[in-house]
């Protein structure tokens, strides 16, 4: 598929068709050479994020979602020459506000990091430097991109800490990361990420390690800040509840590829991929009386060195047999389901709608 065609396909909605998405990822591949073989962590991924919108990337371990975010941020070490240590091999294109990033130098991308795009991680304790007070780390991040005095930067840091809901910010600014509780640490990391007003915020499992009440606070914070700064947010998670709460659009990944892509409303009400059906069916519902057995997906996620040929999901798919061998041989391309909603599956529209109506819909 040509770049232009891919870009058309991932356009989110008719209103946004003339606006350029803030972030566009086109046919991204991230491969790692290892002693055991080539690990294809991301293998041909395309999606877009518009300004002011939140994209939820959903996937289980090994789906490639974190590797994708690191690729966007330019955080993979890429071999600079034949002789250097093996690193990540990246191909494809990543456009940030129209500018392609994979072809730029690492120094150039570093200048964008923190300023135009920032990331928050699952575990703040390992993402922040334990030897420096939190305030110092925020000040450092701010001063890299803004020529101001330390005093001015410190004031900005205090404002930010207050803005993210840390009480007594002028006192807490000199505390060390380990002196904060889990939720407060995550807020401090968000403050650090937002210090330069980035237009894109990538949050990689920001609440997985937190208690549910703290998680709710952090998600609300991210939502409020997004509105205030009109930033684009990519939220990476395995929790479909979090996605339903926060994401405007959703990308479902499996074995380094997109399985389904659409708005949150489309994905939760009219999911089109058997893997998505499996995910939705396998979560116990908090808000419903216990009715039937959970619909577990049989088998386990594949090794990324030996990704199954054809459709990577076929060994676990209840419907792979309906395509007379196509699922085992031919990799499915993204095809449209409805405007703004695409799926990578060999099932015909008719078959899919039938299965949905008779088997899946009533159980979800």
């Amino acid at each position: 598929m040509t770049t232009a065609a891919l870009r058309d396909l991932v356009t989110r909605s008719p209103e946004q068709a003339d606006q350029q998405p803030f972030l566009e990822v086109v046919d991204l591949k991230v491969h790692f050479s290892t002693d055991d073989g080539l690990v294809k962590s991301v293998d041909g991924l395309s999606f877009a994020v518009d300004r002011g919108r939140t994209l939820g990337i959903v996937g289980e371990s090994g789906s490639g979602k974190s590797v994708t975010s690191l690729a966007i941020m330019g955080l993979h070490s890429r071999p600079t020459s034949e002789k250097s240590r093996p690193g990540a091999q990246l191909s494809g294109e990543i456009f940030l506000d129209g500018e392609e990033l994979l072809s730029k130098t690492p120094e150039y991308v570093r200048g964008l990091r923190g300023k135009r795009m920032a990331m928050i991680f699952q575990d703040p304790l390992s993402a922040m430097n334990p030897y420096y007070p939190v305030g110092k780390q925020i000040v450092e991040a701010y001063r890299i991109h803004n020529p101001v005095t330390t005093k001015a930067a410190r004031k900005h840091a205090i404002d930010l800490l207050g803005r993210v809901g840390i009480p007594e910010p002028s006192r807490r600014i000199d505390a060390y990361p380990h002196q904060f509780s889990g939720g407060m640490r995550q807020r401090a990391m968000i403050a650090m990420a937002l210090s330069c007003d980035p237009e894109l915020l990538i949050a990689d499992e920001p609440t997985t390690a937190l208690d549910v009440t703290v998680q709710a606070q952090i998600l609300d914070l991210i939502r409020d800040l997004q509105r205030e700064f009109n930033s684009s947010v990519i939220l990476i998670t395995h929790d479909l509840g979090v996605v339903a709460e926060l994401a405007d659009d959703v990308l479902v990944m499996y074995a380094g590829r997109a399985m389904e892509y659409g708005s949150a409303e489309q994905l939760f009400n009219r999911p089109a991929h058997p893997y998505t059906w499996g995910l939705l069916g396998s979560i116990p519902r908090f808000d419903r009386n216990r009715s039937e057995r959970l619909l577990a997906i049989k088998g386990t996620p594949p090794s990324l060195i030996h990704v199954p040929p054809g459709c990577p999901f076929h060994p676990r798919c209840a419907y792979a047999g309906r395509n007379s061998g196509r699922s085992e041989e031919e990799r499915p391309e993204l095809v449209p389901v409805e405007p703004g909603h695409t799926v990578a599956c060999h099932l015909s529209r008719v078959e899919r709608e039938q299965i949905w109506e008779h088997e899946i819909a009533r159980r979800l």
């Binding site: 371990s61 208690d211 549910v212 998600l219 339903a244 499996g278 396998s282 009386n289 216990r290």
Partner: protein, 336 residues
């Protein structure tokens, strides 16, 4: 089958040259409940509430500081390790982390066969056959008898742990966050497996978890813990339909639900502040520092865990959802 009464576990904090006790982590502070045969009883709460400590007290991996534990009518509170050993055939534990709970240097066969050896039990047909039957019962290939844990995925390792637990046909299994470390699709497999095994092996479960959705699905009755105490105890359906303790209400309002229609309708109760330290918990009602309903009495008089409705126990001076009250808006969620 198992009952605890006013169970207490304090972990001493020692300081100074003489290592005198200066304070204590009041991990579990007066917990009482009883679990009936064949039941799935869950204990739910956030980090630091004392649920894992309670699990370890039930299996006597820890000795209580005060209170009583009764197993099938027998007081096991302070019995010696030697006296406890035969009981370990009846009470077993599944651990959260499938990666650290299996000895990486032992084969699967050795791991699952260990209980027989340790308890001096010779099953009919030999240990190897018994182990292979157990592997099959948990959905693993019996021919993998000679493989090592690292050759299996997280979900499979958890199955190995479960097989080991079942070896001596226990009556009670305490499962401490058995699926938290697993991917969503594997969680469902393990939950289904535990359910099948309960019927097949006639098991009673005490389930410790923080995931409220999983707890609703598996439980008959649920106890909600906060800072070492049970704040609410009820049957699962009743609890989820109309929670009575403000902490339970807040907890449930925080759970993200995979339904986009609820996004804008949702009224979430945001609790102020962080959980206080279990070293110096707030006086009287421990939840009063974060409770939006707190009044003077909450700061001075600890509410007892009282049976406000048949089978519904709540420790609160101003519970929600009492029948004579109108249902609070925070809990008027869809009642599917």
């Amino acid at each position: 089958m198992i009952a605890v009464e006013a169970l207490v576990k304090h972990f001493p904090i020692r300081a100074g040259i003489l290592r005198r006790q200066v304070a204590a982590v009041q991990a579990v502070d007066g917990v009482s409940f009883a679990v009936g045969k064949g039941e799935t009883f869950s204990i739910v709460g956030e980090s630091g509430c004392g649920k894992s400590t309670t699990a370890r007290l039930l299996t006597r991996l820890l000795e209580p500081t005060a209170g009583k534990i009764t197993f099938e009518g027998r007081d096991i509170t302070h019995i010696s390790d030697t006296a406890m050993r035969p009981l370990r055939r009846d009470v077993q534990m599944i651990f959260q982390d499938p990666y650290s709970s299996l000895n990486p240097r032992h084969t699967v066969g050795k791991i699952v066969g260990a209980p027989f050896r340790l308890q001096g039990v010779s099953p009919e047909g030999g240990v190897k056959k018994a182990v292979q039957d157990l592997l099959a019962a948990v959905g693993l290939n019996p021919e993998h008898y000679n493989r090592y844990p690292h050759e299996f995925s997280g979900g499979q390792r958890q199955r190995i742990g479960i097989a080991r637990t079942l070896a001596l046909r226990p009556r009670l299994i305490v499962a401490d966050e058995p699926v938290s470390a697993l991917d969503v699709s594997i969680q469902a497999q393990i939950i289904n497996l535990l359910e099948d095994l309960q019927g097949e092996f006639d098991l009673t479960y005490v389930f410790i978890a923080h995931d409220l959705s999983v707890v609703r699905y598996v439980s008959d009755r649920v106890a909600v813990m906060y800072l070492g105490k049970i704040v609410e105890l009820a049957d699962a359906d009743g609890l989820y339909r109309a929670p009575m303790h403000p902490y339970t209400v807040a907890l449930m309002s925080a759970v993200p639900v995979p339904d986009t229609r609820r996004r804008n309708e949702r009224e979430r109760i945001l609790l102020s502040g962080d959980v206080p330290s279990p070293i110096s918990p707030p006086p009287a009602c421990r939840f009063h520092t974060r409770c939006w309903k707190a009044q003077e009495i909450c700061r001075t008089k600890e509410p007892p865990l009282a049976e406000l409705l048949p089978g519904r126990f709540v420790a609160c001076h101003f519970p929600e959802n009492l029948p004579e009250q109108a249902p609070s808006s925070a809990s008027a969620r869809d009642q599917r």
